[in-house]
Symmetry: C2
Subunit: 345 residues, 2 copies
DNA sequence: CTGTTAGCGCATTCAA
DNA sequence: TTGAATGCGCTAACAG
């Protein structure tokens, strides 16, 4: 391994000078020696030792990423955005899967902190009733003073910065679109209602109905759990109750609805409208491509990353940083229109 | 930050002793002091500084993962398997997206090496005709002496360990299954034939035909490029030529075939058989769920990870390690049977 | 069974 | 414009 000292010897200057030059510090050294140092460095493929540097600067230039399941297309897209932005800013990202287990969130955080990451992006797997776990997580984070930015889900009892989509707006967009296409008896299959974003999406649905002066009909609202099965199951009562359109709060449940429709002789996108949520890649591959609310997760990932890095910078500034209070960035979702919700015939 | 020295002071022993105890080194220190050290460490939430440790041990316990696109479900599943195994063995993984650009493979490798990762898992984006890039990559890897294990694709001019699926076997399984279901005029839509694994899958297809004494018919073999569009396009001539089944060399092209079928009044899974490759998650969500060759990527990821770590260990051993020659692990694929290839009626 | 010493590679303070 | 000295936190020789 070629070190700063080796270069110093070869050029005939001190290690200090080399360090100064290689880190592009202002002036101080003559252009001539500067050039020689750079040449020698390049010649030997010099690369600084990050561990050594981290030891003294107390910066690892590494971000930790904790997420429930990287194999979920939603999260892998997020990871992609984060990685892109991190690299652009000279950070690495270590990723940790929590496998949807809240306990692993805490373990992973501990590992990352031991590793002295500079910041953490969290998509929490800790559910709202796992209070002790949440406390543990928060305590750990607080003690370390490492900036944490949440994505999408708000960990209970915490007040980290958070970036997420405006779920309510999503529900509104989906439902309004169905209405604008001429559907009038629109049902909603929600996610688990102990999750705030599930409630938000439902609220958006109600907003749209209100806008069209359509009274809320509880018989057209069913509670699912984001699985295909639940979509299939919950769709049936709604169909029995004669609805002509459904807003499914995620794409998987929308698929369940499609399967249910088979028994009812509806023609999807013609006399029955369906809109999903998440814009999962498979939406466009379906027989009748599925209209879905899109979150632009890639950009959200980039933004999340920018936010952590900003916080890292602030926490190094002398001023009483972090005193800004938690920031909340809400992205406005879009609607990707495909044929599953064509104009009603 | 609480250091080993602080513990030493508090307990009244030397830093060495503390280090010994905390690293669980054999004997040497009395159970009594051992316990006291452990207690104090726990009390103060002591965690070792990885940078400092890395500086002296020259091990970062970090793996680099270079892949074309984490948002591809195939790769995210791989990442998941790798992460799982790495954590189990006390390693972290830094992931780098190359965005399908060979140039970024080289850049990413450089970054990871600067970062002193202990090993690298590579899913290369360098295509077979980008010789200079491949050379650059190989030179970098060779100079660093860091173990590299490839997944799936063999980088040209390299001889790293590699784990991959037996593509030929996959093609064979797919085709044989169609034959066993009674289809007799089976077409094949291949991937780009300048990729060895595309050729392998085609070979497997031919193997199965041979087994059934069916002569090769060039009119039933079309060359696609793994996109839905190409599946749609290439299917048409085959259908014109009267085939009653198709082995599509990936799932996306299989979807293209399904779209093409619409025009020909075939009933998928009844009088027309279709098998894809990769077992993409969306296969089971299709109207007629798609039978597909499955690679069990998760386990392959774990194995890949085990292999790098093994190599890392070997490279630290005094013996002339690495002299073993490159290892090649081939997984046997499976076939996930769904309704797209039911018995021919 | 335990302590002393040294040094990993770098950035930084202070002195020249 | 430059250099010497120091220390980050840890492990590993080598002594006791």
């Amino acid at each position: 391994m070629y070190t700063i000292k080796d270069i110093a010897n070869e050029v005939g200057v001190s290690p200090t000078t080399v360090s100064l030059v290689l880190n592009k510090r202002p002036c101080r050294v003559s252009d001539e020696t500067r050039k020689r140092i750079q040449d020698v460095a390049k010649e030997h493929n010099y690369a600084p030792n990050y561990s050594a540097r981290a030891l003294v600067t107390k910066q690892t230039r590494t971000l930790g990423l904790i997420m429930p399941d990287i194999s979920n297309p939603y999260f892998s897209e997020l990871a992609k955005g984060i990685e892109r932005e991190a690299h652009k800013q000279g950070y690495f990202v270590i990723f940790c899967n929590s496998n949807d287990q809240g306990k692993k969130d805490v373990e992973n955080l501990q590992l990352l902190l031991n590793r002295q990451v500079d910041g953490v992006v969290l998509v929490s797997s800790i559910s709202d009733d796992e209070i002790p776990l949440a406390n543990e997580f928060n305590a750990l984070a607080a003690r370390s003073r490492v900036p944490v930015v949440q994505f999408d889900r708000q960990l209970i009892g915490s007040s980290y910065d958070i970036v997420s989509v405006n779920h309510r707006m999503g529900g509104y967009l989906a439902t309004r679109f169905l209405l604008s296409q001429g559907y009038r008896s629109i049902g909603c299959i929600t996610g688990p209602l102990n999750r705030s974003f599930s409630r938000d999406r439902l609220e958006g649905y109600l907003d749209a109905l209100r806008e069209y002066n359509i009274p809320k009909n509880d018989a057209l609202i069913a509670s699912g759990d984001f699985t295909l099965q639940s979509g299939l199951l919950q769709a049936q009562p709604l169909l029995e109750n004669g609805c002509d359109g459904i807003f499914a709060c995620n794409d998987l449940m929308a698929i369940g609805v499609i399967k249910a429709l088979k028994k009812y002789h509806y023609r999807l996108g013609e006399d029955f409208g369906l809109v999903g949520f998440d814009n999962n890649p498979f939406c466009e591959y379906l027989e009748t491509p599925l209209t879905s609310v899109d979150q632009n997760i890639y950009d959200m990932g980039k933004e999340t990353c920018r936010l952590v890095i900003k916080r890292i910078r602030q926490s190094r500034k002398p001023s009483d940083a972090g005193a800004y209070g938690a920031q909340e960035i809400r992205f406005t979702p879009g609607l990707v229109i495909r044929s599953s919700a064509g104009p009603k015939k």
